[in-house]
Amino acid sequence: MNAVLTSAAVDTTMAPDAWIDLIAIILILGGALLCLTAAIGVLRFRDVATRLHAATKPQVLGLILICLAIAVSLRSWETVAFLVPIVLMQLATAPLSAHMVGRQAYRNGSLDERSLLVDELAESRQTPPAAGG
C-alpha cells in the first residue's frame, strides 16, 4: 500500500485502487481523531458523567468509521457481512455499559452536585432501592 500511495501522491492520474486506499486512510484518520478526542476528554473533564460523555464518541462513531474503512479497503461482501454484526453489537452494548457506570456514579455521589441544574432523582435517593443499603 505504501508504494502505491507514494506513487499516487506525485501524479494526478491515480489508479482507482489508490483513490480507494486514500479514502480508507482518511476514514481511519477520522476514527483515530475521535479516539484522540475521547482520550483528551477523559483526561481533562472533571467527573465521571462528563468523562462518560467524552468516552462514548469513539465507541460508536469511531468504530463505524473504522469498519467503513475496512469495508472500503477490502471490498468484499463477506467482510461486510462480518462487520455489520460488529457494529450492531457495539451499538447495543455501548449505551448499556455507559448507563450502568453513570447510574452507579450518581448513586455513590461521585457526580459534581453543583454542576447539576436539575436533579430529578433527588427524592428517590432518600427511598429504596436507589438509597442503597
Partner: protein, 89 residues
C-alpha cells in the same frame, strides 16, 4: 501518503497513552472503568485500522469478540462499586 499513515499511528499512540494516564491516576474506580472502556475501544480501532491498511481479515473475529464481551467489564465494575462509598473521590 505514508506521512498520513505515520500521523494515524501517532494519533493512536497519543490517545492510548492519555487514556492509560487516566487509568493510572483516575481518582475513583468508575473513572478507571470509563478510561479502560475507552482503551478497549481504541484497541478495536487499532485492530480495524491495521486490517484496513494491510488488507487482511485475520483479526475480524477478535473484533467481534471484543465488541460482544467488552461490555461486561464496565458493567461488573459498576455493580461491584459500593453504593455510598464517597471516600474514593
Amino acid at each position: 501518503m505514508s506521512v498520513l499513515l505515520i500521523v494515524v499511528y501517532v494519533i493512536f499512540a497519543v490517545a492510548a497513552l492519555l487514556t492509560l494516564w487516566r487509568i493510572v491516576v483516575g481518582p475513583s474506580i468508575l473513572d478507571r472503568a470509563v478510561a479502560s472502556d475507552v482503551l478497549l475501544t481504541e484497541l478495536m480501532c487499532v485492530l480495524g485500522a491495521e486490517m484496513a491498511i494491510n488488507h487482511h481479515t485475520r483479526t475480524l473475529p477478535v473484533l467481534l469478540m471484543i465488541a460482544a464481551v467488552g461490555v461486561f467489564g464496565s458493567i461488573s465494575i459498576a455493580r461491584f462499586v459500593a453504593r455510598r462509598d464517597t471516600t474514593e473521590q
